[in-house]
């Protein structure tokens, strides 16, 4: 089969010299300026008389990422099967992806495909930039193999907008079994009360029992789980695409929301189970502290496997359990999507790429097999089974634009953790801020 490997994969395999790569990079930089007015982004494939389409693709996979080679292998496999489509992958960090898409959308120069986090999809939908893929989706034979929860994030009024799920980052309770044993904690905690009890025993043994994020993109993803576990949501649909936070409408709900804030406050201040510094931790600090066993447990994702190489001793005893709950077991499904846009000049090729990465062949490859969005792809292992077992209790964000709301969630919890407001004040303020944000966004 004819292969059209990318310059990046050539370098990875050592098939291209650095000079050649730089030459290609220079050509790639110069090419759009020269060719765009003449032939759009399609170029003639030399010697074949066949048109090669270049798909501009933004992804957060950097060359130093543990998954890089596996992810590049997926691109290679796609290009091997589609010699007339060349995927031009550009690395953009997770933090910058949404910004870049927002700016590009304003400038009318969006790429063809972007790797997107679940919380960005409703924002893009509100911006009106997502491609309507309903027809292609309906005609796709493999669609039923995808987990229902993963499809919910791209379903708007029974239409499939934007893209396909391709990567599942399920959160689980991760703990250092040796530290638990040392402190006399026999089993991982099942409930919030168990977590406090275990944390107190660990504290007696001089080990900080638990950690969480006080800020960063991870913080809202962590705290939403505790609201779900207390039978609440940050916003509930009220019909016609509108939403509302109902905590202040109902004293019982407000009490349960307050419980979540109180739980966080107690873990840090009343019981001293969580280090005070965690009020300002981002995900790097949380992951590093868990990997180095500076904290005995945290709610975290399967990407922690990447820390095993650097911390083989401290990561050796890591074990998994469902996230301790209050009323209803729940976990966060971080579903990554491959998204294409309404203005893409190559809709057919973009769909071809989307369909491939969510297809069985790609999902069975090393890049995805541990985090597959498909129920017909099964894998076993320490870093797979405990996470995939939690899919049934997995939940995703409501379909609201989260920009302002995420910030309000971070502010509300930091206010409590830094003792600037009480749990009840924080719950009330957050409820009001969420509704104000929904109104401003036209979703109230």
């Amino acid at each position: 089969m004819d292969r059209t490997p990318s310059a990046i994969t050539d370098i990875l395999r050592g098939a291209a010299s650095r000079r050649r790569f730089l030459g290609r990079a220079g050509a790639a930089l110069a090419a759009p300026a020269v060719l765009a007015p003449v032939a759009g982004r399609a170029t003639a494939a030399a010697g074949r008389g066949q048109e090669t389409v270049e798909l501009e693709y933004w992804w957060p996979v950097a060359a130093n990422n543990a998954d890089y080679a596996n992810m590049v292998a997926v691109l290679d496999a796609f290009q091997a099967q589609n010699p007339n489509i060349r995927v031009n992958a550009q690395t953009v960090s997770f933090e910058q992806l949404e910004n870049r898409v927002t700016v590009a959308a304003q400038g009318g120069n969006l790429p063809d495909v972007v790797w997107s986090l679940p919380e960005t999809i409703p924002t893009y939908q509100r911006m009106g930039i997502l491609a309507d893929l309903t027809e292609q989706w309906d005609a796709w034979e493999e669609k039923d193999a995808l987990y229902e929860q993963t499809v919910a994030g791209i379903t708007f009024d029974d239409r499939i907008l934007g893209g396909v799920p391709h990567y599942l980052g399920i959160r689980a309770y991760q703990y250092h079994a040796d530290q638990f044993a040392e402190a006399g904690v026999e089993a991982p905690p099942e409930t919030w009360d168990d977590l406090v009890a275990a944390g107190l025993k660990l504290k007696e043994a001089g080990i900080p029992g638990f950690g969480f994020c006080g800020q960063s993109v991870r913080q809202p993803q962590e705290v939403i789980v505790y609201f779900w576990q207390n039978d609440l949501d940050i916003a509930v649909p009220t019909g016609d695409g509108t939403f509302r936070n109902t905590w202040t409408d109902n004293p019982e709900e407000l009490a349960r929301a307050t419980e979540v804030f109180q739980f966080y406050y107690d873990l840090m201040h009343t019981h001293g189970i969580v280090p005070r510094e965690a009020a300002s931790w981002g995900y790097t600090e949380l992951d590093t502290n868990l990997a180095q066993a500076t904290i005995a447990s945290a709610v975290d994702g399967p990407w922690m496997v990447g820390y095993e190489d650097e911390n083989p001793e401290t990561m050796a005893d890591i074990a998994f359990a469902p996230i301790p709950y209050k009323r209803t077991p729940a976990t966060f499904l971080e579903v990554a999507y491959q998204v294409t846009f309404a203005d893409s000049p190559h809709p057919a090729e973009a769909w071809e790429f989307l369909r491939f990465v969510a297809g069985r062949e790609a999902q069975a490859m090393a890049a995805y097999v541990n985090r597959s969005v498909r129920s017909d792809v099964e894998a076993e292992g320490k870093w797979t089974t405990p996470f995939m077992d939690l899919v049934p209790q997995g939940r995703a964000w409501p379909q609201i634009a989260l920009g302002q709301i995420s910030q309000h969630m971070i502010d509300a919890f930091q206010g409590v953790l830094l003792e600037q407001s009480t749990p009840e004040q924080a719950a009330t303020a957050l409820s009001e801020q969420v509704n104000a944000a929904l109104e401003e966004q036209g979703q109230a």
Binding site: E98, N99, T102, V103, A105, Q106, T123, R126, M127, G128, G214, Q215, S216, P275, R276, E277, A279, S280, W281, G282, E285, T288, N289, Q292, T294, A401, G403, Q404, S406, Q407, I410, D411, Q414, G415, L418, Q420, E440, Q441, G442
Partner: protein, 313 residues
């Protein structure tokens, strides 16, 4: 027979360019690209920002409407984010520029002495300035970590701290720690610039003052420092503008946190535009920042003119 002289046929009137264009056509041609760039990348975005500031545009809500000065009023009435950010911007700018100037001047005076290995020291002092901002910020985040940061370890071992402090994560220290890191990174620029100016101070003046019995401090205060005035003013004004507008360093170190404790106007604009998509309110904030900086620029121009007038009289 008389000789008839044929009248020459009337020549077609030549294309007459306006006199300035005819005289300086090539000059205008050469200037044109810069003017176009200026219009495209400075004037147009500025005008667009002004226009957005009087609109109500939120990227996640379709449509927009003219709202006059409402966005400005909203910001000026905001006691939770806007006014703290104004204060933090002032502290951040004055603290950074003041610290950079003092440290830069001190290092420049030291490096102007006939020290052994002066060339090496001059090279070493440049290192913080040459480190890319991202790397400097990431390194300092690691150094200032309470759990595994080398900075805290050293301070505790030296007995200067009883226990590690989360410098970038504490409400009371976040802004100060950010200023400290910024000063560390930027002072070499002052050092090198002031060192060049120091070397231009006439040595005979200093020698004459020494012979007349002036102390080292008096020579510095009455001769050296006045000679640095022009360079210092330019340095300070430039850095006030750069520091006031700086987003990346604060964002990389604290993201304006915790709980907006290190949030400046610049990071607030970034947050509103690219995190919460409140484009019009971000534009209104930007316009206010432009006005503030124009006042600083205007003050600099007035000072410069007065100085020039004093020199000529």
């Amino acid at each position: 027979m008389g000789i008839q002289i044929a009248r020459p046929a009337r020549a077609a009137p030549a294309l007459r360019l306006p006199r300035p264009l005819a005289r300086h056509g090539f000059v205008y041609l050469f200037v044109l690209p810069s003017v176009l760039l200026l219009l495209g990348f400075t004037v147009w975005p500025l005008l667009r920002t002004f226009w957005l500031s009087v609109q109500d545009v939120n990227l996640v809500r379709p449509g927009s409407e003219f709202v006059g000065l409402a966005n400005f009023r909203t910001q000026l009435a905001d006691q939770t984010l806007f006014w703290p950010a104004v204060w933090h911007s002032l502290v951040w700018t004055v603290g950074s520029v003041g610290g950079e100037y003092l440290l830069g001047l001190g290092a420049a005076v030291l490096l102007n002495q006939p020290l052994r290995g002066r060339g090496l020291f001059r090279m070493l002092v440049l290192i913080p300035w040459t480190v890319p901002i991202v790397i400097a910020a990431m390194t300092w985040r690691w150094i200032l970590q309470p759990e595994y940061g080398i900075g805290n370890v050293l301070l505790v071992r030296a007995g200067l701290l009883a226990e590690p402090v989360y410098w970038l994560g504490d409400l009371s220290t976040a802004l100060g720690a950010t200023i400290f890191v910024n000063v560390w990174r930027s002072f070499p620029f002052y050092t090198i610039t002031l060192l060049a100016a120091l070397q231009a101070v006439p040595k005979e003046l200093l020698e004459a003052a020494a012979i007349d019995g002036a102390s080292a401090w008096e020579r510095f205060w009455r001769i050296t420092l006045p000679h640095l005035k022009g360079v210092s003013l330019a340095l300070i004004v430039l850095h006030v503008v750069w520091t006031f507008n700086n987003v990346e360093f604060i964002w990389l170190l604290t993201e304006g946190g915790p709980l907006h404790a290190s949030e400046t106007l610049a990071t607030l604009v970034y947050r509103m535009a690219f995190r919460t998509f409140e484009i019009s309110e971000a534009a209104a904030l930007s316009v206010m920042m432009i006005v503030l900086l124009l006042l600083v620029g205007g003050g600099y121009a007035v000072l410069g003119r007065r100085r020039e007038e004093r020199r000529t009289t």
